[in-house]
């Protein structure tokens, strides 16, 4: 499903690039809260452009976490970003724009914790219990969003198709992604802890907006379009 959607977005991008509209097109490189990205923009009227692109960022992190109960080896993976299909409306004769559209999110955060030392219950007491790490098992968690396609709204400055050949871009906006969902799974004796994923999901219930801030450079392809 995800692969098909990516293909569709790629086809759309290509069709935009090669569509002849009579206006100059632009390509922009951006970096921001969604990671580094590449966008193609094509004006469809004197004040409206269509833009497609994507940003993506992946990061992995391993750490040995020291805890008062038991030390844990942690492995986390972050997939961040997604593809966008946007409309930029330039209401003034300037680079200021209002932007709206859809964001196909590829956001996924996963992490796995594996205890590296025994867990002591009632340490030093007559009823002391020692659970070795291999018996304790592991806990893994995955954060995703329920809907892959999310609405986006924002404002920005800079118009690659209508100004200088190279122009600076700034964008501020937000994606409504809905509440994140945390799914946990466990093995061994600590497997039961995974049932707390619902509590964690509830705790993050209000995190429904993804802020977007990005800066970039746009390069015009072709003759500059005229602002009305």
């Amino acid at each position: 499903m995800e692969v098909n959607m990516r293909r569709k977005i790629l086809l759309l991008l290509l069709s935009l690039v090669f569509t002849t509209t009579g206006y100059a097109q632009s390509v922009s490189i951006r970096v921001g809260t969604l990671g580094p990205g590449l966008h193609f923009s094509i004006p469809v009227s004197s004040s409206l452009s269509l833009r497609a692109g994507g940003s993506y960022f992946a990061y992995s992190h391993s750490a040995a976490i020291e805890d008062e109960d038991v030390n844990v080896d942690f492995q986390g993976d972050l997939d961040w970003g997604g593809a966008t299909l946007l409309a930029d409306w330039y209401p003034f004769r300037s680079g200021f724009r209002l932007t709206g559209g859809a964001f196909y999110n590829l956001i996924k955060v996963t992490g796995t914790g594996v205890p590296t030392e025994p867990y002591y219950l009632n340490e030093g007491q007559s009823n002391e219990k020692i659970f070795q790490p291999e018996r304790l098992g592991s806990l893994s968690a995955k954060l995703t969003y329920g809907s892959k396609i999310n609405p986006y709204a924002g404002i920005g400055f800079g118009d690659g198709a209508r100004g200088a050949r190279v122009s600076f871009l700034f964008e501020l906006g937000a994606i409504y992604v809905g509440s994140p969902e945390i799914e946990m799974q466990g093995t061994g004796m600590i497997a039961g802890s995974a049932s707390q994923d619902e509590v964690l999901t509830e705790g993050l219930e209000s995190f429904q907006w993804l802020p977007v801030v990005s800066v970039g450079l746009a390069i015009r392809i072709g003759k500059a379009s005229e602002r009305r």
């Binding site: 209401p91 219990k129 937000a174 600590i190 707390q196 964690l200 219930e205």
Partner: protein, 544 residues
């Protein structure tokens, strides 16, 4: 037009940021969720477990000292604790505890799981029993300990002493003889002849004064039955060295202790010393099924404290009878132990004894024993909801037996002058007055908001009427339903306890991870509250 466009832009931007701020992220909720995260220990259900009570045989109350149990025998490697960890030993505090059997083993009548248990507690004589599980679920077991075996009803004591010369050689004949037992006049004697060399457990020669003490259990009583080492269904090491599960009867058994002037126990004698026991004439010969007579053979056994089983030492011939009507059996030994004269066989099962409960829904305790003819004893708990009893592995050569059933202060007895194999019978209890089934809400309360567990396998609740000795305590054979909080931790539960008398105060006991809770609760209705929070569960198992 331009004005309206600007207004639209301003409105849009304002709406956009207003929406963002209104739907602002609640960081404190996220922080709370993360900080509340707790590691829950998932425990596997234990299908077969033993509800254990350890009772002082003289006072009838629970042994309050820490009791150490060591597991022996073929199925001992199947013993697990509530965490499903294999255990070779277990500590029990306050006289109650529990242990489980690996789920891979499914006990049944045809495939019983038998665990030998060696029991020790400070200030008490060690004891050992064989606990047999013949079904899944809960099996009740009671172990008796005695501070001193002297003075137990049915036993008599004798002492004597003499001098030891150089090289640990006894200088004079020393004979310790018990007083005649008032019930059957039977006596026992230990004879150490002059010239016998005594050696301590560390291999040193005895020195100073040699003291001999003997305790002889020869009359059948509830006290002497429970002190019989290993229990009457146990393991014997036969003459060819193999271990077999058998059912014992004993005509009498005695504990012999010999110490030197330094208080060291003498464990080896050269030449052997002579032990003599008098056997009551109503003892049934396990080989012939008839009362013993002159010239009959009788087995003698020594008890292996380390192995937790009886060792068949051989057989001897009955002499007499003497003027008191008793026969005498003598044998020589070079080591000291607890010694029994009696018989063993493969055992047999009784038929079904049926019980008309007539509203007595609580668990029924049944004690079976032989009145004469070499005695044995067995104690069985009939769970609530069950109304029949089969006594398993009783000695097949018994010629009489008695079974006493008890519930809610009532006793009913079946007595037969026949062997127990295949025997049947029926008893009926009177309808109890004001006895109800009580539904209890279990709560871990403020002191322990929750247990970091998703289950408490082998959780057992015991109860007795307040003021009665602990020996009257019975267990609840059903498991509670545990309630979990949103994190999956146990916060409490519920259980229905049958057969409690309205208006009476009961003492309830329970144990989790060897921490005992005790509560006195007046039964005021069919819905009651059992607060498990106070002064218990201080361990890390508590979530807070």
């Amino acid at each position: 037009m331009k004005t309206s466009k600007n207004s639209l832009v301003i409105l849009t931007v304002t709406f956009f940021f207003a929406s963002l701020s209104l739907s602002g992220c609640d960081f404190s909720a996220a922080e709370d969720a993360l900080s509340n995260f707790d590691v829950i220990i998932s425990l596997e259900e234990v299908n077969s477990y033993v509800a254990l009570t350890v009772v002082d045989g003289q006072t009838g109350n629970f042994v309050q000292q820490q009791v150490n149990l060591a597991f022996f025998g073929q199925d001992s490697d199947a013993v697990i604790d509530m965490f499903s960890d294999p255990v070779t030993d277990l500590s029990v505090s306050g006289g109650i505890g529990s242990f489980g059997i690996r789920n891979a083993l499914v006990p049944s009548d045809s495939n019983p799981i038998e665990v030998r248990v060696q029991v020790e507690a400070q200030d008490y004589q060690p004891n050992s029993v064989t606990i047999a599980l013949t079904k899944t679920g809960q099996t009740d077991a009671r172990i008796y300990l005695f501070r001193e075996i002297q003075g137990i009803p049915g036993s008599e004591t004798g002492t004597n002493s003499g001098n030891i010369g150089s090289g640990g050689v006894v200088l004079e004949d020393i004979e310790a003889r018990t007083l005649p037992n008032p019930m059957n006049q039977a006596q026992a004697t230990v004879s150490v002849r002059a010239g016998t060399q005594g050696t301590t457990a560390t291999g040193e020669s005895a020195s100073g004064e040699l003291s001999v003490e003997i305790v002889y259990f020869t009359a059948n009583s509830s006290s002497t039955a429970v002190v019989f080492p290993g229990g009457f269904r146990g393991t014997v090491e036969t003459l060819d060295g193999t271990l077999e599960q058998v059912s014992f009867t004993t005509a009498g058994f005695m504990s012999v202790t010999v110490t030197d002037g330094n208080g060291n126990e003498i464990t080896q004698f050269d030449p052997p010393i002579e032990l003599s026991m008098e056997v009551a004439p109503n003892t049934i010969n396990g080989h012939t099924g008839s009362p013993v007579s002159t010239g009959d053979a009788i087995d003698f056994y020594s008890y292996s404290e380390t192995g937790g089983y009886w060792v068949e030492e051989g057989e001897s011939t009955l002499e007499g009878p003497g003027s008191n009507g008793n026969y005498t059996v003598k044998f020589l030994t070079s080591h000291l132990s607890t010694w029994s004269a009696g018989y063993n066989d493969r055992g047999c099962d009784s038929g079904v004894f049926s019980i008309q409960r007539n509203g007595n829904t609580a668990a029924i305790t049944a004690r079976a024993f032989s009145v004469s003819g070499g005695w044995f004893g067995a104690s069985v708990v009939i769970p609530s909801g069950e109304s029949d009893l089969t006594i398993l592995n009783a000695p097949s050569h018994l010629t009489d037996f008695e079974v006493v059933f008890e519930v809610n202060g009532q006793e009913q007895t079946i007595q037969r002058n026949t062997g127990i194999c295949g025997a049947t019978g029926a008893v009926a209890f009177d309808s109890p007055i004001n006895v109800i089934d009580v539904h209890f809400a279990l709560d871990f309360g403020d002191a322990c908001e929750a247990l970091k567990l998703n289950d408490v396998p082998a959780f057992v609740i015991f109860h007795k009427r307040q003021g009665e000795p602990d020996v009257s305590t019975t267990s609840v054979t059903t498991q509670p339903i545990f309630h979990l909080d949103e994190l999956g931790r146990i916060t409490g539960g519920e259980i229905t306890i049958p057969g409690l008398e309205l208006g009476l105060t009961y003492t309830f006991y329970t144990t989790i991870n060897n921490e005992r809770a005790e509560r006195d609760i007046l039964i005021e209705g069919s819905e009651m509250f059992f607060d498990l929070s106070e002064d218990v569960f201080e361990s890390d198992i508590c979530a807070n």
